[in-house]
């Protein structure tokens, strides 16, 4: 028996906003009958506000609960607000879902994204994604595209193939795409890392900031001080002042304290040189 939250149980027992809107402004679809779950969502949108939402779901308890709560989450919200909703928001609103059932919340997100896409001027939520990936199917058993996997990794911080399967179903049947899923995980984190890389100016500012706020106050306690002289790649040139400059332990201070503090803060292999 799944460990469903009270809220999940309440929503599959008494689903809200069930049905079809015949004159809907946007209709979104995710999943399929053969895959075992499917969600159709219908939206009325007026002046950029979702004024009504209804759903029809073929699926398990958590699929119905995810669909039902999603309609409650979006009615009365602006399209801009609705765009920001992720699968994690749906799962959180339900008080959590069992890990193996997270794909139900992803189905809600996918149907919503599909509806907004059909509505008009919608653009992909994630600029990191490449357009050609939108249609590229990774898991042929469950028709899961690379985009869906990418979003699930990003929104939920997924790290393993098993987690991706729980969230998107990809890899859950024949398992042939597990290697591809691992590649996508690797690519995502490499990209994330490279985008976190600082520009040269940002790096200089950061180093100077660390010296001023973390290193200098400590040296001042002992009657000394320090300032940044120059940065060349991984070599950071500093000048010690006051008591520090004449201290016989100056090299030790540089290596053990200054260099270590900067290494940790920058997550880089740097060398500090006293000039």
């Amino acid at each position: 028996m799944w460990d469903y939250s009270e809220k999940v149980m309440d929503h599959y027992r008494n689903p809200r906003n069930v049905g079809k809107i015949d004159d809907a402004d946007a209709v979104g679809n995710a999943g399929s009958l053969s895959c075992g779950d499917q969600l159709k969502i219908y939206l009325k949108i007026k002046d950029n506000i979702v004024t009504d939402a209804k759903f029809q779901t073929f699926g398990c308890g958590s699929a119905v609960a995810s669909s039902s709560i999603l309609t409650e989450m979006i009615i009365g919200k602006s399209v801009d607000e609705v765009r920001k909703i992720t699968n994690k928001d749906i799962a959180d609103e339900l008080g959590g879902l069992p890990p193996e059932k997270m794909h139900c919340s992803v189905m809600g997100y996918e149907a919503l994204e599909d509806a907004l896409k059909n509505w008009g001027d919608y653009q992909d939520l994630d600029d990191l994604r490449e357009p050609e990936k939108a249609q590229k199917i990774v898991c042929t058993c469950f028709n899961v595209t690379e985009n869906v996997i990418w979003d699930a990794i990003k929104q939920n911080g997924l790290k393993t193939v098993e987690e991706v399967t729980n969230y998107t179903k990809a890899g859950g049947a024949c398992g042939k795409c597990k290697g591809l899923i691992q590649d996508i995980i690797n690519t995502y984190y490499e990209k994330e890392k490279s985008e976190q890389k600082l520009s040269p100016t940002q790096r200089i500012l950061k180093i100077n900031n660390i010296i001023e706020t973390q290193i200098s106050p400590e040296l001042q306690k002992d009657g000394g001080d320090i300032n940044l002289v120059d940065i060349q790649d991984n070599k950071i040139y500093v000048k010690l002042h006051g008591k520090c400059s004449s201290c016989k332990n100056a090299t030790l201070t540089i290596k053990r304290f200054v260099e270590q503090t900067l290494k940790t803060a920058l997550d880089e292999d740097i060398e500090v040189i006293d000039v």
Binding site: Y12, R13, P15, V18, K20, L33, S34, G36, D37, Q38, L39, K40, F55, Q56, T57, F58, G59, C60, G61, A63, V64, E100, K101, C141, F142, T165, K169, G172, A173
Partner: protein
């Protein structure tokens, strides 16, 4: 609570529990010990072996090995045969076996065995021609379940053993009878069976005890090596209270076979007829005949099984589903897929399995409540047009 999931496990019969209690309390001796105190325990073991011999109509009590469960019985039989004669590398089984057997064969395939998986038709009946064609002198083992756990469909064991013996007399025949025990008569001699496994908790004994029949002409390498227990075929101090319980359950099962074939079957048929008559998007996933008397597997089109189970559970009704969602796996039942159950119904397939404890009142209650549940779930399905067409057609 209405328990219609007896193919998953069963309630322990009070009489079984009573038969076990002395061996938990006063008679705790090790049956192998050499003093008078151990006599009752060793006698219990001996008697139990006699009951199981009768239960399966084995020739000799020495052909009965007590195990801890159905999976251990199957593993001991299959690995036991293959390891005893390592020259043969071919195995034949079916696409609809229980996962405990199927997963073992998939492991054996990785170890270099060639395994043929025989298919079934839409009624769930085995393709005997395909089976016959697959048998060669290199076939070490044919492994077939007696009754299917999900559908209750019975395979023609006697016919299969005749086919095997006519094509390759040295090939061993293992029958997984876990779902047949207590429901239909089991006769290993009449049916030409070499090895047969059963599990106690499927017929009102507790979980944690099973048995394996190995006929005297079939030699196996033991799975669990250690002491001399079970004539060296299964080491480990005998689980006397559970074995006593298994024997009592087997005794009661033998007495109850007629009740299964008449009363349990009558109630199953009543439930089945009521559902098929009153719920327009229901279909029987098997043929009508050739099934154990307690099981029915019904598909509900355009609705999903877990949701049916959850709504039934709210009313205290227990059953199980072939849907992907209930198992934590993402694919629906391999049995229903092998039978080509339409994709519109496969995810909404429910197994009801009765027992001798099922009452008419319970069946009436489920018959009354199920249409309301299905209607409620059908109302939220995205397939309203298809459902309307189905309704009009019915």
């Amino acid at each position: 609570m209405i328990y219609l999931d007896n193919n998953a496990t069963t309630k322990i019969d009070e009489r079984v529990l009573d038969a076990m209690m002395p061996y938990f309390k006063e008679e705790y001796a090790n049956p192998s010990s050499m003093y008078n105190f151990s006599k009752k325990a060793s006698n219990a073991l001996k008697e139990a072996r006699g009951v199981l011999k009768d239960f399966l109509n084995a020739k000799d009590e020495k052909e009965i090995i007590f195990t801890s469960c159905g999976s251990e019985s199957a593993n001991t039989a299959i690995k036991g045969v293959l390891n005893y004669n390592k020259s043969k590398k071919h195995i034949i089984t079916t696409k609809v076996e229980h996962p405990c057997v199927l997963n073992l064969y998939q492991t054996l395939e990785k170890q270099g065995y060639k395994v043929d998986y025989i298919g079934v038709n839409s009624n769930g009946d085995l393709d005997l021609e395909q089976l016959e064609a697959a048998i060669t002198p290199d076939t070490a083992l044919v492994s077939v379940m007696w009754a299917n756990n999900e559908t209750g469909v019975i395979f023609p064991i006697k016919k299969i053993s005749e086919i095997i013996k006519s094509k390759s007399p040295d090939t061993k025949f293992f029958v997984d009878a876990v779902q047949a025990a207590g429901k239909i008569p089991l006769d290993v001699q009449e049916n030409g069976i070499d090895l047969l496994g059963i599990s106690g908790h499927k017929f009102h004994a507790p979980k944690g005890v099973g048995a394996l029949y190995v006929n005297s002409k079939t030699l196996i390498t033991p799975l669990i090596v250690g002491g001399h227990q079970e004539r060296g075929k299964r080491a480990g101090t005998e689980n006397v209270p559970y074995i006593a319980g298994l024997a009592k359950a087997a005794e009661l099962a033998m007495d109850g076979l007629k009740y299964e074939a008449t009363e349990v079957k009558r109630l199953r048929d009543k439930l089945e007829k009521n559902i098929l008559k009153n719920i327009y998007n229901s279909r029987l996933n098997t043929g009508v005949s050739n099934r154990v008397p307690n099981t029915t597997n019904i598909g509900f089109e355009y609705v999903e099984g877990e949701l049916i189970l959850l709504h039934m559970s709210d009313l205290g009704i227990c059953a199980s589903s072939g849907s992907a969602c209930t198992s934590g796996s993402l694919e629906p039942s391999h049995v229903l897929r092998a039978m080509n159950v339409p994709f519109t119904a496969i995810h909404g397939s429910i197994r009801f399995s009765l027992s001798r404890f099922t009452t008419e009142k319970e069946i009436d209650y489920v018959s009354e409540k199920l249409p309301e549940i299905i209607e409620k779930i059908t109302a939220i399905s995205p397939y309203q047009d298809e459902l309307a067409a189905l309704k009009a057609h019915k």
